[in-house]
């Protein structure tokens, strides 16, 4: 990846993170989970997915399905930066007059399907991928999964079927930030060796640094990894990435920030200050 493209992606990602931090004010949002996948979502929309905000019903478009759901501020911010929705609309976060709440609603332009209940959108994505194949289409379907979400049996059930159907137009992108809701995955239900598990289910797997745009580009450019079934990209990420004061903290999954904390975290994002958070860590699940 050339430097200009990398800088451009970093600039978009920074703006998306600013949006997510603002959404953590007021009623709050799942900030930690959103920041771990921000670079993934920005990369996908800016450089991989063939989806035009002016033609959202194009049957030939690529699909991103946000299966973990609670990371939707990363998607809202990306959709705003890329003109799917207006930036002003983000101020409606949690307003009953709009559809921008803690999980995605497909009434928001660019959101393909609602989610929030974990372990659902792999199979929904499989249905889309199967139809694309029936029609001889070239659309690519990417399902973004949380790593904690991999506890759900429906993921592994779906992988058995995806391999049986040979859905090579389907890619699972795992936001491997190392956390369940409130506990590290390896402390609760260990997932490692995760790539081996996917491989055993017939997937072709690559592991990348989920905050390295160049590595993401290399991985996505190589899709599909195999013609026999789905591809899996395990993206190693950091919960809260970009904000050292909340990075990799189990208690900063959901954040409800005071106005001064929003300001401080925006400065921390720019590297001009370190925020001291006093808002109570919330355990929402």
């Amino acid at each position: 990846m050339n430097d200009a493209r990398r800088r451009e992606l970093e600039a978009v990602a920074r703006e998306v993170r600013r949006h997510a931090i603002r959404m953590a004010g007021g009623g709050g949002c799942f900030l930690g989970a959103s920041l771990s996948c921000t670079d993934l979502v920005v990369y996908l929309y800016r450089h991989f997915l063939r989806v035009d905000p002016r033609r959202l019903d194009d049957p030939d478009r690529d699909y991103l399905l946000l299966s973990k759901g609670h990371d939707v501020p990363a998607l809202y911010g990306t959709l705003a930066e890329l003109d799917f929705i207006s930036r002003e609309r983000l101020a409606n976060h949690l307003s009953p007059a709009d559809h921008l709440y803690w999980h995605p609603n497909r009434a928001v332009p660019g959101v393909e399907f609602h989610s929030g209940s974990l372990g659902h959108l792999l199979s929904v994505g499989m249905g889309i991928a199967y139809d694309v194949r029936l029609r001889g289409g070239r659309n690519r379907v990417v399902v973004l999964l949380g790593d904690g979400e991999l506890d759900e049996g429906s993921i592994w059930e779906g992988l058995l079927v995806a391999r049986a159907l040979g859905l090579s137009n389907l890619t699972l992108l795992v936001d491997r930030n190392g956390f369940q809701a409130n506990v590290r995955t390896e402390q609760l239900v260990p997932l490692e060796p995760l790539p081996d598990k996917f491989a055993a289910f017939g997937c072709a797997v690559r592991t990348v640094d989920g905050h390295d745009f160049g590595a993401l580009e290399d991985a996505f450019a190589a899709l599909p990894f195999a013609a026999s079934g789905p591809s899996v990209i395990v993206a190693r990420t950091v919960r809260g990435a970009g904000l050292p004061s909340i990075e990799a903290r189990a208690d900063r999954w959901f954040c409800r920030l005071a106005p001064a904390e929003v300001t401080a975290l925006l400065q921390e994002l720019d590297g001009t200050a370190v925020a001291e958070l006093e808002s109570e860590p919330l355990m929402v699940r």
């Binding site: 659902h120 199979s123 249905g127 991928a129 199967y130 139809d131 059930e157």
Partner: protein, 311 residues
């Protein structure tokens, strides 16, 4: 009658390329479809959740998926997928629950779908069709496929005992309604056969009997239910379903909402799973034979001991 369920599905799929048939390896009633439909027949294996999720994805792409699987596992194993991925967006997925109720015969309680109607009608966008027999099922299928809503069809392949009327969503089929009747038998599903025969026995006693095949429980024909209650001395609901959440609940809710009070006798599985056996023995054990139904109705009419209207 020479038509079959499989034939009607095949014709629908051949006529309309949007129609796909999915199953979780429950092929008994659709065994000829794989060869005829090719990739538009999709067997996902014993994976009800994945099957429903895929049906939702297919519907998002403009397809009309017909999902045929055993009623218990379809409605219960995959319930949250149905509610979340089909019900919330109201996608046109057509769920067909095979061997529901007494039709599971000797399989035992794991296979007895006796709460499937309650579960499916608990989903706001879901419509529910409980055919009386194979002819009724085939009469209703085209309308179910043409309707844009998600549907649950309680599969029934029993041989018909009656000539059915044309099918309309939300309209009951009423047989022999009088200006005043001694009793109205309201039935949804496979016990229509026994209800029909019980009506004949009661008429032989000299009673006037109206028989109502509700057909769809969501939406239910409120007019037919209220008319039955107003013009009959006794309302009887007959269903192979637990007492909660099925036909009896629909009738009680309808009467109460309209402020109509009527003596009501509920014949159902009550609160127990039935004894596993072949169908004639199941019907006998559960009190669902025509003779048993007629006897309970006679007792209610003679002794005036029907349960209170809203019990």
């Amino acid at each position: 009658m020479t038509d079959t369920y499989e034939r009607v599905l095949l014709d629908a799929a051949l006529r309309d390329p949007r129609v796909l048939v999915l199953t979780a390896e429950n092929r008994a009633a659709i065994r000829g479809l794989p060869d005829r439909l090719g990739p538009r027949f999709l067997d996902t294996g014993i994976t009800e959740q994945t099957m429903i999720g895929m049906a939702a994805g297919l519907a998002l792409r403009g397809r009309i998926p017909v999902v045929h699987a055993l009623a218990t596992f379809l409605t219960m194993r995959a319930f949250e997928f149905i509610r979340t991925d089909v019900g919330i967006p109201g996608l046109p997925v057509k769920l067909v629950g095979a061997v529901p109720g007494v039709l599971s015969e000797a399989n035992g309680p794991t296979h007895q779908a006796l709460e499937d109607v309650a579960l499916m009608r608990g989903i706001p966008s879901m419509r529910v069709f409980c055919p009386a027999d194979l002819a009724d099922l085939l009469a209703g299928l085209p309308a179910v496929l043409a309707d844009p809503a998600p549907w649950y069809v309680r599969y029934c392949d029993r041989a018909p005992v009656a000539e059915h009327q044309p099918f309309h969503v939300g309209r009951a089929e009423v047989f022999r309604a009088g200006a005043r009747d001694d009793v109205a038998l309201l039935v949804a599903g496979a016990l229509f056969t026994e209800a029909w025969q019980a009506a004949d026995r009661l008429r032989a006693d000299g009673h006037t009997v109206r028989l109502i095949n509700l057909r769809t429980l969501e939406p239910a024909d409120a007019g037919a239910i209220l008319d039955a209650a107003r013009r009959s001395a006794l309302v009887v609901t007959i269903e192979d379903h637990f007492a909660r959440g099925g036909l009896r609940s629909v009738v009680v809710e309808t009467l109460f909402a309209a402020g109509v009070l009527a003596p009501l006798l509920s014949i159902s599985c009550g609160e127990r799973w039935f004894t596993p056996a072949l169908l004639p023995d199941v019907l006998a054990d559960a009190g669902f034979t025509a003779d048993a139904i007629a006897a309970r109705v006679r007792a209610a009419l003679t002794h005036r001991i029907p349960v209170p209207a809203y019990a």
